[in-house]
Symmetry: C2
Subunit: 192 residues, 2 copies
């Protein structure tokens, strides 16, 4: 839609810093389009999937878990990294994570958005799906060994309270709640 | 609001991997609350501020820039990292970044949300503000040397088209557009 000039930053040299289980880190020396040079610190991540799941009682499903980078427990919508082999089907990742983390299985998943979370330094992309007609599974997929979490189902008002008290404080979950607000508003106004 | 059990992951040992200009990287060996151990790859970031800025003509202000982690140009709301010394005043960061990147100065900034972008591995927090009554500054603060960007002002419909064509594809900007949709819906329904 828009006519663009060339803004590309050409890589002069890449220095590999770290090859982890989840992230890789590198520093690129780049040639800027304005003639200068700079360094770019880069984090590479396999990407993830998050699921907005509403129960038949119109409650949203959340998981509560400790997040080491924040050194605290927070409340989030179910989400997880894309496993090798799932790369071409984030929908499969979404269904798997929802079941592993919450014991719910969706009739289907509707793709809402795919978003880069922190494009200044990371290539991590998050695919957000909305789950329809979720049902509790008798014998759900087991949780990951190193994930310890609790499941919560909150009404819209309870979720708003969890924003106010700081329990809900991450981008994907705040995005999900804003999506819910939009949904509720459209519903109440007979637009959806 | 919710009664919680103890989910803390205790640090057994931290290994410092990288100390960069923008990010630091470390790996923690942690003791899990269920008795096991695991490793956590961690990225530390100073945090940032993003500004939702609407003109008197009800257009939103965007900047277009190359993002090295994505190897492409994208369209985002104005944002930037918190400078040392601005730590206690993200509002000051927001006003500075808006002026540096777009030449606009706000009458005031309203704090909307503070959100962790990627709490699984990074502690980066983004403070989102809404700017009111922005005006073009005659001699704005200069742009950063290593930032090359263009300014766009888009109507709501143009911004939706930029989502559809993939130009708008990051979390803060999609959040801002969802916020705008909510604002428009409330306005049209006489709720705001």
């Amino acid at each position: 839609m828009l006519e663009y000039t060339d803004f590309e930053e050409k890589t002069i040299q890449r220095t590999e810093i770290f090859h982890g289980k989840i992230i890789d880190v590198a520093v690129d020396d780049v040639a800027l389009p304005n003639g200068g040079t700079s360094k770019r610190e880069l984090v590479f991540h396999p990407g993830g999937v998050a699921v907005i799941a509403l129960t038949a009682e119109n409650k949203m499903v959340f998981v509560r878990q400790f997040r080491k980078p924040l050194e605290r427990v927070i409340l989030e919508i179910p989400a997880g990294k894309i496993d090798p082999g799932e790369g071409n089907s984030p929908e499969r990742t979404g269904a798997r994570e929802l079941e592993e983390e919450t014991g719910y299985r969706p009739a289907s998943l509707e793709h809402l958005y795919s978003m880069y979370l922190s494009p200044g330094f990371a290539n991590e992309i998050l695919h957000i799906y909305c789950a329809t007609a979720i049902t509790k599974v008798e014998n759900p997929l087991p949780q990951d060994d190193d994930e310890v979490l609790e499941i919560y189902e909150l009404t819209f008002e309870e979720a708003q309270a969890a924003i106010a008290d700081g329990s809900i404080c991450d981008a994907k979950t705040l995005f999900a709640l804003q999506y819910w607000e939009l949904l509720e508003l459209k519903r109440r106004k007979g637009l959806a």
